[in-house]
Protein backbone atom coordinates (compact mmCIF):
# COMPACT_ATOMS: atom_id res chain seq x y z
CA UNK A 1 0.00 0.00 0.00
CA UNK A 2 2.76 2.42 1.06
CA UNK A 3 4.77 1.61 -2.05
CA UNK A 4 1.76 2.28 -4.28
CA UNK A 5 1.15 5.67 -2.68
CA UNK A 6 4.74 6.78 -3.03
CA UNK A 7 4.79 5.58 -6.63
CA UNK A 8 1.63 7.58 -7.26
CA UNK A 9 3.17 10.73 -5.70
CA UNK A 10 6.36 10.25 -7.70
CA UNK A 11 4.47 9.79 -10.96
CA UNK A 12 2.28 12.84 -10.27
CA UNK A 13 5.37 14.97 -9.62
CA UNK A 14 7.15 13.74 -12.74
CA UNK A 15 4.05 14.32 -14.87
CA UNK A 16 3.66 17.82 -13.48
CA UNK A 17 7.29 18.73 -14.04
CA UNK A 18 7.28 17.33 -17.56
CA UNK A 19 4.17 19.26 -18.52
CA UNK A 20 5.26 22.26 -20.67
CA UNK A 21 5.11 25.86 -19.51
CA UNK A 22 2.95 28.22 -21.50
CA UNK A 23 4.34 30.97 -23.72
CA UNK A 24 2.34 33.67 -25.48
CA UNK A 25 3.11 35.36 -28.80
CA UNK A 26 3.79 39.07 -28.09
CA UNK A 27 4.30 40.30 -31.66
CA UNK A 28 1.63 40.95 -34.29
CA UNK A 29 2.78 38.13 -36.55
CA UNK A 30 5.39 35.41 -36.23
CA UNK A 31 6.14 31.98 -37.67
CA UNK A 32 6.46 28.51 -36.25
CA UNK A 33 9.65 27.35 -37.94
CA UNK A 34 10.93 23.88 -38.84
CA UNK A 35 14.42 24.67 -37.53
CA UNK A 36 15.91 27.22 -35.09
CA UNK A 37 16.73 29.44 -38.08
CA UNK A 38 14.66 32.32 -39.51
CA UNK A 39 15.41 31.15 -43.03
CA UNK A 40 14.03 27.64 -42.41
CA UNK A 41 10.60 26.42 -43.56
CA UNK A 42 7.53 27.95 -41.90
CA UNK A 43 5.18 25.34 -40.42
CA UNK A 44 2.42 27.72 -39.31
CA UNK A 45 1.66 31.39 -38.80
CA UNK A 46 1.39 32.67 -35.26
CA UNK A 47 -0.52 35.75 -34.25
CA UNK A 48 -0.44 37.90 -31.13
CA UNK A 49 -1.74 36.25 -27.98
CA UNK A 50 -1.45 32.67 -29.35
CA UNK A 51 -0.62 30.20 -26.61
CA UNK A 52 2.31 27.85 -27.12
CA UNK A 53 3.54 25.00 -24.99
CA UNK A 54 7.26 25.16 -24.24
CA UNK A 55 9.00 21.85 -24.80
CA UNK A 56 12.66 22.82 -24.77
CA UNK A 57 15.00 25.85 -24.85
CA UNK A 58 17.82 25.90 -27.39
CA UNK A 59 19.89 29.08 -26.99
CA UNK A 60 17.75 31.98 -28.22
CA UNK A 61 15.11 29.60 -29.56
CA UNK A 62 12.22 27.72 -28.01
CA UNK A 63 10.96 24.38 -29.25
CA UNK A 64 7.20 24.71 -28.79
CA UNK A 65 3.91 23.03 -29.61
CA UNK A 66 1.02 25.12 -30.94
CA UNK A 67 -2.71 24.61 -30.26
CA UNK A 68 -2.92 22.18 -33.22
CA UNK A 69 -0.20 20.03 -31.72
CA UNK A 70 2.36 21.14 -34.31
CA UNK A 71 5.93 21.23 -33.00
CA UNK A 72 8.36 23.87 -34.20
CA UNK A 73 10.70 26.68 -33.22
CA UNK A 74 10.01 30.27 -32.25
CA UNK A 75 12.57 32.94 -31.36
CA UNK A 76 12.54 34.08 -27.73
CA UNK A 77 12.01 37.73 -28.76
CA UNK A 78 8.60 36.80 -30.22
CA UNK A 79 7.11 35.38 -27.04
CA UNK A 80 6.44 36.28 -23.45
CA UNK A 81 5.92 34.05 -20.43
CA UNK A 82 2.91 35.82 -18.95
CA UNK A 83 -0.14 36.90 -20.91
CA UNK A 84 -0.90 39.53 -18.27
CA UNK A 85 1.94 41.71 -19.56
CA UNK A 86 0.47 41.83 -23.06
CA UNK A 87 -1.23 45.17 -23.38
CA UNK A 88 -2.79 47.54 -25.83
CA UNK A 89 -4.99 45.21 -27.85
CA UNK A 90 -6.86 44.20 -24.70
CA UNK A 91 -9.76 46.64 -25.39
CA UNK A 92 -10.66 44.69 -28.52
CA UNK A 93 -10.50 41.37 -26.71
CA UNK A 94 -13.83 39.78 -25.89
CA UNK A 95 -14.49 39.63 -22.18
CA UNK A 96 -11.82 42.11 -21.12
CA UNK A 97 -12.41 43.30 -17.58
CA UNK A 98 -13.12 46.94 -16.76
CA UNK A 99 -9.76 47.14 -15.04
CA UNK A 100 -7.98 45.80 -18.14
CA UNK A 101 -9.80 48.32 -20.31
CA UNK A 102 -8.86 51.17 -17.98
CA UNK A 103 -5.20 50.11 -17.92
CA UNK A 104 -4.98 49.73 -21.68
CA UNK A 105 -6.53 53.16 -22.27
CA UNK A 106 -3.77 54.79 -20.25
CA UNK A 107 -0.80 53.84 -22.38
CA UNK A 108 0.56 54.54 -25.83
CA UNK A 109 -1.98 52.79 -28.01
CA UNK A 110 -4.23 52.79 -31.05
CA UNK A 111 -6.85 54.84 -29.23
CA UNK A 112 -4.43 57.70 -28.62
CA UNK A 113 -3.07 57.40 -32.18
CA UNK A 114 -6.60 57.91 -33.54
CA UNK A 115 -6.77 61.22 -31.66
CA UNK A 116 -3.58 62.39 -33.41
CA UNK A 117 -4.75 61.35 -36.89
CA UNK A 118 -5.76 64.22 -39.12
CA UNK A 119 -3.42 66.68 -37.43
CA UNK A 120 -0.87 68.52 -39.60
CA UNK A 121 1.96 67.35 -37.38
CA UNK A 122 1.38 63.66 -38.18
CA UNK A 123 1.32 61.87 -41.53
CA UNK A 124 0.02 58.40 -40.68
CA UNK A 125 -0.90 57.68 -44.33
CA UNK A 126 2.81 57.84 -45.20
CA UNK A 127 3.61 55.54 -42.24
CA UNK A 128 1.06 53.00 -43.50
CA UNK A 129 2.71 53.14 -46.95
CA UNK A 130 6.07 52.35 -45.33
CA UNK A 131 4.61 49.41 -43.40
CA UNK A 132 3.09 48.01 -46.61
CA UNK A 133 6.52 47.71 -48.27
CA UNK A 134 7.39 44.49 -46.47
CA UNK A 135 9.43 41.69 -48.00
CA UNK A 136 8.43 38.02 -47.55
CA UNK A 137 10.82 35.67 -45.67
CA UNK A 138 11.42 33.65 -48.87
CA UNK A 139 12.71 36.79 -50.64
CA UNK A 140 15.05 37.50 -47.69
CA UNK A 141 16.34 33.92 -47.81
CA UNK A 142 17.06 34.23 -51.56
CA UNK A 143 18.72 37.63 -51.02
CA UNK A 144 20.97 36.16 -48.32
CA UNK A 145 21.96 33.21 -50.53
CA UNK A 146 22.65 35.34 -53.63
CA UNK A 147 24.77 37.82 -51.68
CA UNK A 148 26.79 35.03 -49.95
CA UNK A 149 25.57 36.26 -46.60
CA UNK A 150 25.01 34.10 -43.51
Amino acid sequence: MKKKIFLLIFLAMVAFLLAGKSLFVQVLRSQLLAKPDFLSRSLASLSKGARLELIETQGSWYLVKNSNGLKGYVHRSAVIKSKSTLSGAIPYKKGASDQELALAAKGFNEGNEKKLRGGREYDFAAVDWVLDQGVPPAAVAAFVREGKLK
Binding site: Q26, H75, S84, S87, K106, F108, L131, V140
Partner: protein
Protein backbone atom coordinates in the same frame (compact mmCIF):
# COMPACT_ATOMS: atom_id res chain seq x y z
CA UNK B 1 -21.54 -19.23 26.33
CA UNK B 2 -18.06 -20.50 26.86
CA UNK B 3 -15.98 -18.15 28.86
CA UNK B 4 -12.45 -17.59 27.78
CA UNK B 5 -9.84 -17.86 30.36
CA UNK B 6 -8.57 -14.44 31.40
CA UNK B 7 -5.14 -14.90 29.82
CA UNK B 8 -6.48 -15.97 26.42
CA UNK B 9 -9.05 -13.08 26.51
CA UNK B 10 -6.25 -10.59 27.05
CA UNK B 11 -4.22 -12.19 24.28
CA UNK B 12 -7.16 -11.97 21.86
CA UNK B 13 -7.77 -8.33 22.71
CA UNK B 14 -4.10 -7.57 22.31
CA UNK B 15 -3.95 -9.19 18.86
CA UNK B 16 -7.14 -7.34 17.79
CA UNK B 17 -5.65 -4.07 19.03
CA UNK B 18 -2.46 -4.76 17.06
CA UNK B 19 -4.51 -5.28 13.87
CA UNK B 20 -6.40 -2.03 14.51
CA UNK B 21 -3.17 -0.20 15.27
CA UNK B 22 -1.61 -1.50 12.03
CA UNK B 23 -4.63 -0.37 9.99
CA UNK B 24 -4.62 2.98 11.75
CA UNK B 25 -0.93 3.45 10.95
CA UNK B 26 -1.58 2.58 7.31
CA UNK B 27 -4.50 5.01 7.23
CA UNK B 28 -2.34 7.77 8.73
CA UNK B 29 0.40 7.19 6.14
CA UNK B 30 -2.18 7.24 3.35
CA UNK B 31 -3.70 10.44 4.70
CA UNK B 32 -0.31 12.15 5.09
CA UNK B 33 0.78 11.08 1.61
CA UNK B 34 -2.47 12.32 0.10
CA UNK B 35 -2.15 15.67 1.86
CA UNK B 36 1.47 15.93 0.71
CA UNK B 37 0.40 15.23 -2.86
CA UNK B 38 -2.37 17.84 -2.68
CA UNK B 39 0.03 20.43 -1.22
CA UNK B 40 2.64 19.69 -3.89
CA UNK B 41 0.07 20.00 -6.67
CA UNK B 42 -1.25 23.26 -5.21
CA UNK B 43 2.27 24.68 -4.89
CA UNK B 44 3.17 23.73 -8.44
CA UNK B 45 -0.10 25.04 -9.82
CA UNK B 46 0.40 28.32 -7.98
CA UNK B 47 3.95 28.54 -9.27
CA UNK B 48 2.89 27.92 -12.87
CA UNK B 49 -0.31 29.91 -12.85
CA UNK B 50 -0.25 33.03 -15.06
CA UNK B 51 -3.02 34.44 -12.86
CA UNK B 52 -0.69 34.30 -9.92
CA UNK B 53 2.08 35.86 -12.00
CA UNK B 54 -0.29 38.61 -12.97
CA UNK B 55 -1.13 39.21 -9.33
CA UNK B 56 2.58 39.29 -8.51
CA UNK B 57 3.18 41.72 -11.39
CA UNK B 58 0.40 43.98 -10.15
CA UNK B 59 1.71 43.83 -6.61
CA UNK B 60 5.21 44.65 -7.87
CA UNK B 61 3.81 47.49 -9.97
CA UNK B 62 2.02 48.90 -6.94
CA UNK B 63 5.16 48.56 -4.82
CA UNK B 64 7.22 50.20 -7.55
CA UNK B 65 4.82 53.12 -7.75
CA UNK B 66 5.19 53.77 -4.04
CA UNK B 67 8.90 54.06 -4.78
CA UNK B 68 8.09 56.40 -7.68
CA UNK B 69 8.78 53.98 -10.51
CA UNK B 70 7.95 54.74 -14.11
CA UNK B 71 5.53 53.18 -16.55
CA UNK B 72 7.18 50.27 -18.33
CA UNK B 73 6.61 50.56 -22.06
CA UNK B 74 5.42 47.30 -23.59
CA UNK B 75 6.39 46.03 -27.06
CA UNK B 76 2.99 47.10 -28.36
CA UNK B 77 3.23 50.57 -26.84
CA UNK B 78 6.69 50.93 -28.40
CA UNK B 79 5.07 50.15 -31.75
CA UNK B 80 2.36 52.81 -31.34
CA UNK B 81 4.73 55.50 -30.10
CA UNK B 82 7.04 54.57 -33.00
CA UNK B 83 4.22 55.01 -35.51
CA UNK B 84 3.50 58.47 -34.09
CA UNK B 85 7.21 59.42 -34.16
CA UNK B 86 7.46 58.22 -37.78
CA UNK B 87 4.28 60.13 -38.67
CA UNK B 88 5.76 63.26 -37.11
CA UNK B 89 9.04 62.85 -39.04
CA UNK B 90 7.07 62.28 -42.26
CA UNK B 91 5.15 65.50 -41.68
CA UNK B 92 8.54 67.30 -41.77
CA UNK B 93 10.36 65.26 -44.46
CA UNK B 94 8.85 63.99 -47.70
CA UNK B 95 8.76 60.23 -48.13
CA UNK B 96 10.72 59.04 -51.18
CA UNK B 97 8.35 56.46 -52.68
CA UNK B 98 10.91 54.53 -54.73
CA UNK B 99 9.44 51.02 -54.53
CA UNK B 100 12.43 49.13 -56.03
CA UNK B 101 14.95 50.90 -53.81
CA UNK B 102 12.71 50.53 -50.75
CA UNK B 103 12.53 46.78 -51.42
CA UNK B 104 16.33 46.58 -51.74
CA UNK B 105 16.75 48.51 -48.49
CA UNK B 106 14.24 46.24 -46.73
CA UNK B 107 16.05 43.13 -47.95
CA UNK B 108 19.39 44.39 -46.57
CA UNK B 109 17.73 45.48 -43.33
CA UNK B 110 15.84 42.20 -42.82
CA UNK B 111 18.99 40.16 -43.51
CA UNK B 112 20.74 42.14 -40.74
CA UNK B 113 17.81 42.01 -38.32
CA UNK B 114 17.72 38.20 -38.39
CA UNK B 115 21.18 38.16 -36.81
CA UNK B 116 20.42 40.80 -34.19
CA UNK B 117 19.59 40.02 -30.57
CA UNK B 118 16.10 41.46 -31.06
CA UNK B 119 14.96 40.00 -34.39
CA UNK B 120 11.24 39.97 -33.64
CA UNK B 121 9.50 43.13 -32.53
CA UNK B 122 5.79 43.88 -32.37
CA UNK B 123 5.23 45.20 -35.90
CA UNK B 124 8.52 44.04 -37.45
CA UNK B 125 11.33 46.20 -38.83
CA UNK B 126 10.64 48.53 -41.76
CA UNK B 127 13.11 50.58 -43.80
CA UNK B 128 12.13 53.68 -45.73
CA UNK B 129 13.64 56.56 -47.69
CA UNK B 130 13.36 60.29 -47.06
CA UNK B 131 13.56 62.65 -50.02
CA UNK B 132 16.18 64.87 -48.44
CA UNK B 133 19.67 65.88 -49.57
CA UNK B 134 20.90 65.88 -45.96
CA UNK B 135 23.02 62.86 -45.16
CA UNK B 136 21.11 61.35 -42.28
CA UNK B 137 19.63 58.16 -40.85
CA UNK B 138 16.95 57.93 -38.16
CA UNK B 139 15.39 55.12 -36.16
CA UNK B 140 11.91 55.53 -34.72
CA UNK B 141 10.90 53.25 -31.83
CA UNK B 142 9.24 50.01 -32.84
CA UNK B 143 11.52 49.42 -35.83
CA UNK B 144 10.81 52.10 -38.46
CA UNK B 145 14.18 53.18 -39.87
CA UNK B 146 14.65 56.08 -42.29
CA UNK B 147 17.57 56.76 -44.61
CA UNK B 148 17.78 60.06 -46.43
CA UNK B 149 18.45 60.27 -50.19
CA UNK B 150 21.68 62.09 -49.26
CA UNK B 151 23.11 59.19 -47.27
CA UNK B 152 22.01 56.58 -49.83
CA UNK B 153 23.85 58.54 -52.54
CA UNK B 154 26.89 58.69 -50.30
CA UNK B 155 27.12 54.89 -50.02
CA UNK B 156 29.29 53.28 -52.69
CA UNK B 157 28.29 49.67 -52.15
CA UNK B 158 25.77 47.40 -50.41
CA UNK B 159 28.01 46.82 -47.42
CA UNK B 160 28.17 50.55 -46.69
CA UNK B 161 24.38 50.76 -46.83
CA UNK B 162 24.27 47.73 -44.52
CA UNK B 163 26.67 49.49 -42.12
CA UNK B 164 24.34 52.51 -41.85
CA UNK B 165 21.31 50.25 -41.32
CA UNK B 166 23.16 48.06 -38.79
CA UNK B 167 23.93 51.17 -36.71
CA UNK B 168 20.26 52.21 -36.71
CA UNK B 169 19.09 48.65 -35.93
CA UNK B 170 21.35 48.66 -32.89
CA UNK B 171 19.56 51.80 -31.62
CA UNK B 172 16.25 49.90 -31.85
CA UNK B 173 17.74 46.81 -30.20
CA UNK B 174 18.93 48.98 -27.28
CA UNK B 175 15.60 50.87 -27.23
CA UNK B 176 17.57 54.13 -27.42
CA UNK B 177 14.69 56.17 -28.92
CA UNK B 178 12.48 55.31 -25.91
CA UNK B 179 15.18 56.53 -23.54
CA UNK B 180 14.65 60.02 -24.96
CA UNK B 181 11.23 60.25 -23.25
CA UNK B 182 11.47 62.41 -20.15
CA UNK B 183 11.21 60.22 -17.06
CA UNK B 184 8.61 62.49 -15.48
CA UNK B 185 6.14 61.69 -18.27
CA UNK B 186 6.49 57.96 -17.68
CA UNK B 187 6.13 58.47 -13.94
CA UNK B 188 2.85 60.32 -14.46
CA UNK B 189 1.65 57.66 -16.89
CA UNK B 190 2.57 54.94 -14.40
CA UNK B 191 0.61 56.70 -11.67
CA UNK B 192 -2.44 57.08 -13.94
CA UNK B 193 -2.32 53.44 -15.05
CA UNK B 194 -2.16 52.16 -11.48
CA UNK B 195 -4.93 54.48 -10.35
CA UNK B 196 -2.58 56.29 -7.98
CA UNK B 197 -3.49 59.54 -9.64
CA UNK B 198 -6.42 60.61 -11.73
CA UNK B 199 -5.47 61.24 -15.33
CA UNK B 200 -8.02 62.51 -17.81
CA UNK B 201 -7.85 61.21 -21.37
CA UNK B 202 -6.55 64.64 -22.44
CA UNK B 203 -3.72 64.44 -19.91
CA UNK B 204 -2.76 60.97 -21.18
CA UNK B 205 -2.92 62.23 -24.78
CA UNK B 206 -0.71 65.15 -23.73
CA UNK B 207 1.87 62.72 -22.34
CA UNK B 208 1.68 60.71 -25.58
CA UNK B 209 2.19 63.83 -27.75
CA UNK B 210 5.03 65.18 -25.60
CA UNK B 211 6.75 61.78 -25.55
CA UNK B 212 6.66 61.79 -29.36
CA UNK B 213 8.20 65.28 -29.37
CA UNK B 214 10.90 64.18 -26.88
CA UNK B 215 11.92 61.43 -29.31
CA UNK B 216 11.75 63.45 -32.55
CA UNK B 217 13.67 66.24 -30.82
CA UNK B 218 16.44 63.77 -29.99
CA UNK B 219 16.40 62.17 -33.44
CA UNK B 220 16.40 65.39 -35.46
CA UNK B 221 18.23 67.89 -33.27
CA UNK B 222 19.66 66.90 -29.92
CA UNK B 223 21.07 63.48 -30.86
CA UNK B 224 21.87 60.48 -28.72
CA UNK B 225 24.59 60.51 -26.11
CA UNK B 226 28.15 59.61 -27.11
CA UNK B 227 27.79 56.39 -25.13
CA UNK B 228 24.65 55.38 -27.04
CA UNK B 229 26.35 56.15 -30.38
CA UNK B 230 29.43 54.16 -29.42
CA UNK B 231 27.31 51.16 -28.42
CA UNK B 232 25.40 51.40 -31.70
CA UNK B 233 28.66 51.53 -33.70
CA UNK B 234 30.26 48.61 -31.87
CA UNK B 235 27.02 46.60 -32.04
CA UNK B 236 26.82 47.37 -35.77
CA UNK B 237 30.30 45.93 -36.34
CA UNK B 238 29.26 42.67 -34.68
CA UNK B 239 25.98 42.60 -36.60
CA UNK B 240 27.73 43.18 -39.93
CA UNK B 241 30.20 40.38 -39.22
CA UNK B 242 27.43 38.02 -38.07
CA UNK B 243 25.44 38.67 -41.27
CA UNK B 244 28.44 38.22 -43.56
CA UNK B 245 28.83 41.88 -44.51
CA UNK B 246 32.23 43.49 -44.38
CA UNK B 247 32.55 45.32 -41.01
CA UNK B 248 35.16 47.64 -42.56
CA UNK B 249 32.26 49.22 -44.48
CA UNK B 250 31.36 51.13 -41.30
CA UNK B 251 34.80 52.72 -41.26
CA UNK B 252 34.59 53.66 -44.93
CA UNK B 253 31.15 55.29 -44.48
CA UNK B 254 32.45 57.20 -41.45
CA UNK B 255 35.35 58.48 -43.57
CA UNK B 256 32.81 59.86 -46.04
CA UNK B 257 30.90 61.51 -43.20
CA UNK B 258 34.14 63.04 -41.96
CA UNK B 259 34.82 64.49 -45.43
CA UNK B 260 31.34 66.05 -45.46
CA UNK B 261 31.83 67.41 -41.94
CA UNK B 262 35.04 69.12 -43.08
CA UNK B 263 33.06 70.86 -45.79
CA UNK B 264 30.75 71.98 -42.98
CA UNK B 265 27.70 70.67 -44.73
CA UNK B 266 24.69 69.74 -42.65
CA UNK B 267 25.40 66.08 -42.17
CA UNK B 268 24.77 63.78 -39.23
CA UNK B 269 23.74 66.76 -37.18
CA UNK B 270 22.40 64.40 -34.53
CA UNK B 271 25.59 62.34 -34.25
CA UNK B 272 28.96 62.92 -32.53
CA UNK B 273 31.85 63.76 -34.85
CA UNK B 274 32.86 61.12 -37.40
CA UNK B 275 36.57 61.36 -36.49
CA UNK B 276 35.77 60.55 -32.87
CA UNK B 277 33.72 57.54 -33.94
CA UNK B 278 36.40 56.35 -36.34
CA UNK B 279 38.91 56.05 -33.50
CA UNK B 280 37.05 53.38 -31.55
CA UNK B 281 35.71 51.70 -34.72
CA UNK B 282 39.31 51.28 -35.97
CA UNK B 283 40.27 49.80 -32.64
CA UNK B 284 37.34 47.34 -32.66
CA UNK B 285 38.04 46.32 -36.26
CA UNK B 286 41.33 44.77 -35.12
CA UNK B 287 39.21 41.97 -33.66
CA UNK B 288 37.10 41.21 -36.76
CA UNK B 289 37.99 40.00 -40.23
CA UNK B 290 37.01 41.55 -43.53
CA UNK B 291 34.79 39.76 -46.02
CA UNK B 292 34.61 39.84 -49.80
CA UNK B 293 31.89 42.23 -50.89
CA UNK B 294 32.42 42.16 -54.65
CA UNK B 295 29.60 39.66 -55.18
CA UNK B 296 27.10 42.19 -53.84
CA UNK B 297 28.32 45.07 -56.02
CA UNK B 298 26.30 44.06 -59.10
CA UNK B 299 22.96 44.12 -57.35
CA UNK B 300 23.88 47.39 -55.62
CA UNK B 301 24.53 49.05 -59.01
CA UNK B 302 21.22 47.68 -60.31
CA UNK B 303 19.20 48.80 -57.29
CA UNK B 304 20.62 52.20 -56.33
CA UNK B 305 20.04 55.00 -58.85
CA UNK B 306 23.04 57.23 -59.61
Amino acid sequence: MKKLPQQSWIRALDSKFKICSKELTNFRICYKALMLLVCLCLLMAAWKSPINLSKLNKAKKAADLVAGTTHKISEEEEYYIGRAVAANILSQYRLWKNIALSRYLNLIGKALVLKSVRPEIFGGYHFALLDSAEANALSAPGGIIFLSRGIVEMAENEDELAAILAHEIQHIVSKDPLKAIKSQRLKSLGAFAAGEALGSSNEVLGIFKNSVLDITGTLLQKGYSRGQEKNADLGALKLLAATGYNPYALLSILKKCQAIEKKKAKAFSAHPSASNRMNYVRDALKRVSASDMRIRCIRFKKSVPR
